[in-house]
Every structure is written in structure tokens, then in C-alpha cells.
């Protein structure tokens, strides 16, 4: 039977179907897809558990307990099952598309919001060689992607065909555009200091010790960058875009179920991106804070040397700290008034960054030690 098939039907072999060149492409594609999964699965896991951390942290700050019911195997485990229960609820909820809305744009808006926050992970360096795409223009790429996140908001606000959603989108867009300028200038400061747009090179330029990290020579820029990042992600105290007391929930007021949760995930993924970029650009990325304090021999000790020396764990610790800052800010500060937000962005942050750009250039040109010697 098999012989008959082979002789009568011309069965192309695998090699004929996929020439050797295609094999190489296929292998490369599979490798890259696997790498993307290795990055994205932990990111989405962190997004889920960041919501849990937020509720717990804010709960404890406000003298509450936070979620403590949903666990595994009949045990509560401090409520660790809560994000999974939430995800189940959101997945099985019906997505209601308002009859007056523009259906295609209504559905595509959450995707437009989520995609840039995921795509930015391609250039984040987790270690000296641990980076998906080691491109020269990494910093520009990140800047481009953060400027794209606004389209999800603006399209959602318009497509919903609702006054609240539209007002929320307008507020959000004006705010994001204003803070993007300060953010961009802060990144230019980093570029001047590191002399490179490659994020890996930026981290390597900070090696030495804690005082070599760019947070010290670029302190105002680091502060401006982080606060602008909070404003860019529409987080408290800059969350006028969804100010529930005035415009219900802002641009995503008409979204429910998974469509809403994609917006939600985009917001949290953006928070993680801002936290990790702050640690990469100003706080030495994967570099160890003990470098330059402990003698070099300590890092050679097997076992403990790996923990004390540079590595991805330091990046994760720094990122976790900045994520905690996001939650801390939300639990501590009341919401800004809209004119105060605009004043802070245009009249305070942008002048500070421009002045410090000049200072940073002078530091670099004069070869001021210990950073630019």
C-alpha cells in the first residue's frame, strides 16, 4: 500500500518542501518564539500577581487585610489564588459591545493598548547577554513604543461613543503627551551620559559601584523619569483619566470582561516596564550594589559569589522596589487636580530636564570623575 502511494503519488520529501535555507529560518523562528515565551510568561504572571500585591500592600498600608480567601486545595494561602479566580471571572464574563459604538475600533482598542506594552520587552536587557533583541537604537525603540500606548486609550474613548469615555480619553491623551516630553528629555540625558542608545551598553557604562550608577549624576532626571512614568501609566496620583468620582472609569467605562481586563493588563505591564527601565537606566540594571564595596575575590566564591555578584536577581529586586513605589504612591497621595498635573509637566519637569541636560553634557565633556573619567 505504502509502496503504491509512493510510486503513484509524487510525495515530496521534507527536504524538498523545506530547503535547507528554510530549515535555518525555521530553527531561528522557533528559537526566537521560545525566547519570547520565556520573557512573556513571567511577565504575564507578574501582571497577575502585581494586582494581588497591590491589593495586599494598599490593604496593609490602610490597616486592612486585603484579599485572603481564595487559595488552593481548600487552604487559603493568604489569598494567593485571588488573581487566578479574577482571571477566570473575567474570561467567562460577556463582552458587551454598546449598540452606538464603532464595533471594529471598540474591539481593537484594548489590543492597541496592550501590544506596545508587550513589544517593549524585546529590548530589555536582563543580563550581560540575556536580551532578546540587542539593537543599537534600543532606547529610541522604547520611546517609540511608550508613545504608541496612547492610541489604545484614544481609540477606546472615541469608539465607545460615550461622554464619559470620551472625556477620559481626552484627559488621558493630553496628560500622556505632556509627560512624554519630559520623559523623552530624561532619556536624552541618559543617552548623553552613556554615549549609547543600546540599553545593555547603558548598564555597562554604569559599572563600578553604587555611586557610579546614573542615579547620582542624573538625579533630577531619574526623579522626573519615574514620576513621568507614573503619569504615563495613568496611575494614582495622576489617574484623572479614570477619576471615578467625576467620569466613572474614564476611557474604559463601557468595557467589560476580557476587553476590560486587557486594558487592565496593559496598565500593569506598563508599570513593570517603567519600573524595569528606571532600574536599567538609572540604577545599574543587573549590576550588583555590592560591586566596589566588597573585594573582587568575594564574587569568585562559589555559591554566595553568584548571589552577591551581578545578575538578573539584582534587576528583579530593583524592579520590585520601584513597583512597590507605584503601590506606595497610590496608597499615600490624593489625586492631582487637572491643572496641577499640566503645570507639573510643562512648567516644572520640562525646564528641569532641559537644565539638567546641559549639566550632564558639561559633566561628560569635562570628564568629571568618578562617572565620566
Amino acid at each position: 500500500m505504502m509502496e503504491w502511494i509512493r510510486s503513484n503519488l509524487i510525495m515530496p520529501s521534507v527536504e524538498q518542501l523545506f530547503p535547507l535555507a528554510m530549515h535555518a529560518y525555521a530553527a531561528l523562528t522557533i528559537e526566537v518564539v521560545l525566547k519570547i515565551l520565556v520573557i512573556l510568561v513571567p511577565v504575564l504572571f507578574t501582571v497577575a500577581y502585581l494586582t494581588y500585591a497591590e491589593r495586599k500592600v494598599i490593604g496593609y498600608i490602610q490597616g486592612r487585610i486585603g484579599p485572603n480567601r481564595v487559595g488552593f486545595f481548600g487552604l487559603s494561602f493568604w489569598g494567593l489564588g485571588q488573581p487566578i479566580a479574577d482571571a477566570f471571572k473575567l474570561i467567562f464574563k460577556e463582552i458587551i459591545v454598546p449598540s452606538g459604538s464603532n464595533k471594529a475600533l471598540f474591539i481593537i482598542a484594548p489590543v492597541l493598548s496592550f501590544a506596545p506594552s508587550i513589544a517593549a520587552w524585546a529590548v530589555i536587557p536582563f543580563g550581560d547577554t540575556l536580551v532578546l533583541a540587542d539593537i543599537n537604537a534600543g532606547l529610541l525603540y522604547v520611546l517609540a513604543l511608550t508613545s504608541l500606548a496612547v492610541y489604545g486609550v484614544i481609540v477606546a474613548g472615541w469608539a465607545s461613543n460615550s461622554k464619559y469615555a470620551f472625556l477620559g480619553a481626552m484627559r488621558s491623551v493630553a496628560q500622556i503627551i505632556s509627560y512624554e516630553i519630559a520623559m523623552g528629555f530624561a532619556l536624552v540625558g541618559v543617552l548623553v551620559a552613556a554615549g549609547s542608545l543600546n540599553l545593555g551598553d547603558i548598564v555597562n557604562a554604569q559599572s563600578g559601584s553604587v555611586i557610579h550608577w546614573f542615579w547620582l549624576p542624573l538625579l533630577p532626571l531619574a526623579v522626573v523619569y519615574f514620576i513621568s512614568g507614573v503619569a504615563e501609566t495613568n496611575r494614582a496620583p495622576f489617574d484623572v483619566a479614570e477619576g471615578e468620582s467625576e467620569i466613572v472609569a474614564g476611557f474604559h467605562v463601557d468595557y467589560g470582561g476580557m476587553a476590560f481586563s486587557v486594558f487592565f493588563m496593559a496598565e500593569y505591564a506598563n508599570m513593570i516596564i517603567i519600573a524595569i527601565l528606571t532600574s536599567v537606566m538609572f540604577f545599574g540594571g543587573w549590576l550588583s550594589p555590592l560591586q566596589g564595596i566588597l573585594p573582587e575575590a568575594v564574587f569568585e566564591v562559589p555559591g554566595i559569589g553568584i548571589l552577591l555578584g551581578e545578575g538578573i536577581h539584582w534587576l528583579l529586586i530593583k524592579t520590585s522596589f520601584f513597583l512597590f513605589m507605584f503601590l506606595w504612591l497610590r496608597a499615600t497621595f490624593p489625586r492631582y487636580r487637572y491643572d496641577q498635573i499640566m503645570r507639573l509637566g510643562w512648567k516644572i519637569f520640562i525646564p528641569i530636564t532641559i537644565v539638567w541636560l546641559v549639566v550632564a553634557s558639561v559633566l561628560v565633556v569635562m570628564n568629571i570623575p568618578p562617572w565620566f573619567a
Binding site: I135, N136, A137, L143, S147, I154, W158, V173, I177, L197
Partner: protein, 220 residues
């Protein structure tokens, strides 16, 4: 081969979205298709390994200019029929301008250089940074044109602000300096008074208690 496939996909997307941009009825959709057009051309520039120009196109046009465009298009109630009225009248002028632009572009790019194979373009290795090359060229050989362009842009910005600020200012704003300088004594007056003996009647007691409180003064 992969490169050519990507090129054809993005060129098709570019032509399609550019065509839709001018034919679609809804101005918001037109703006969105223009964004898609910018995106596809940015992808084609990336294929040419001009990553700085490609990303700058996204940052400047998609990230900033088009957002403001969308803002305006969404806020304005544009009358479509009025816009379509002059189509036949302006068509000859439009065609003339289109032909002129196509001619000048052909002259600049030099049609003789057109070829389907990209072998004639010299390739650089991966560590070649065209961002720094571009910066060097801009700030050395082309410094004066660059500075003049910057000055023109600055004048345009100031002119735009001056045009919108012509009318006398009618909006009321708060002065943050005054708000920060406020002292607690400006807002609050603490009245000291003797403790009075409680009356026997319980209603009297609550009335007396309410008098022994701080009095909040309205800010001037």
C-alpha cells in the same frame, strides 16, 4: 527572500492604507489609516537598515503629530458634504500638483537607479550605528541648515502660541505660589474660652459643647 516577502507585505499595506486614507468617509478612520501608512513606511525604512529614521518617524509622526490630529478630528464636527462639493472644481489643480510632485521625486531619487535587486546598496556590519553617523553629519557638515531649520521651527511655535493667545485672557487660574505660601493661621482661628459649667438639661449640654470648637475662617 524573507526580506522581499516582508517588503511586499508592507508595501501592499502602505499603498492600501494610503488609498483608504483619502477615500474613506469618516475623518477619524482617515487619520487612523494615515497612522497605518506611517507605520508601514517605517517598516520599509527598517528594511533599508535606517533604524534611526524609522523609529523617529514613529516617535514624531505617529506618537505626537497624529495624536494631535486625532484630537482635532474627534473634537470637530466636520461637515463631509461641504468638503466634497469642490472635488470636481479642484481636480485639475490636484492632478497638476500630483504630477509635479511625482516628477520632482523622480528627479531627486533618479529613476535610473531603480532596480528590483538591492545589491547596489552598500551594506554595513551590525555594529555600524547610523544614528551616530547621522548626528555627526548633522552637526558638522550640515550645521547651518540644521540650525536655520531649528530657528524656523521655533518661530513657528512662537507664532502659533501668539495666534491662539490674541484674545484677552478670560480663564481664571490659581497662583500656586500663593497656595504654597499659605500658613495655618491664615485659614484657621482657634478660639480660647473658659470651660463652662454643664447645665442640668441635656439639650443645653450639647449646645454648649458645640460652641467650644475651632472656627474655620474663609480664606480671603
Amino acid at each position: 527572500m524573507i526580506e522581499q516577502t516582508v517588503f511586499y507585505i508592507f508595501s501592499a499595506l502602505l499603498l492600501m492604507s494610503a488609498g483608504l486614507m483619502i477615500t474613506v468617509r469618516n475623518p477619524v478612520f482617515a487619520a487612523l489609516f494615515l497612522i497605518l501608512t506611517f507605520f508601514s513606511s517605517s517598516a520599509i525604512w527598517l528594511l533599508l537598515e535606517a533604524e534611526f529614521l524609522a523609529i523617529t518617524l514613529v516617535v514624531v509622526y505617529v506618537g505626537a503629530v497624529m495624536v494631535l490630529f486625532m484630537f482635532v478630528v474627534m473634537m470637530l464636527d466636520i461637515n463631509l458634504s461641504a468638503m466634497r462639493e469642490g472635488f470636481a472644481k479642484y481636480l485639475p489643480i490636484g492632478v497638476l500638483v500630483a504630477i509635479l510632485m511625482a516628477l520632482s521625486m523622480g528627479l531627486v531619487i533618479n529613476a535610473g537607479e531603480f532596480g528590483l535587486v538591492s545589491d547596489s546598496i552598500q551594506r554595513h556590519s551590525a555594529d555600524y550605528s547610523n544614528t551616530s553617523e547621522l548626528g555627526l553629519a548633522l552637526y558638522t557638515n550640515y550645521l547651518y541648515p540644521f540650525e536655520i531649520a531649528g530657528a524656523i521651527l521655533l518661530v513657528a511655535i512662537i507664532a502659533a502660541i501668539a495666534l491662539t493667545m490674541r484674545s484677552p485672557r478670560s480663564t481664571k487660574t490659581q497662583k500656586p505660589g500663593n497656595q504654597v505660601a499659605v500658613k495655618s493661621t491664615d485659614r484657621l482661628r482657634i478660639v480660647k474660652m473658659k470651660v463652662e459649667k454643664p447645665a442640668d438639661d441635656p439639650e443645653e449640654v450639647s449646645k454648649k459643647d458645640s460652641e467650644v470648637t475651632t472656627v474655620v475662617k474663609e480664606s480671603p
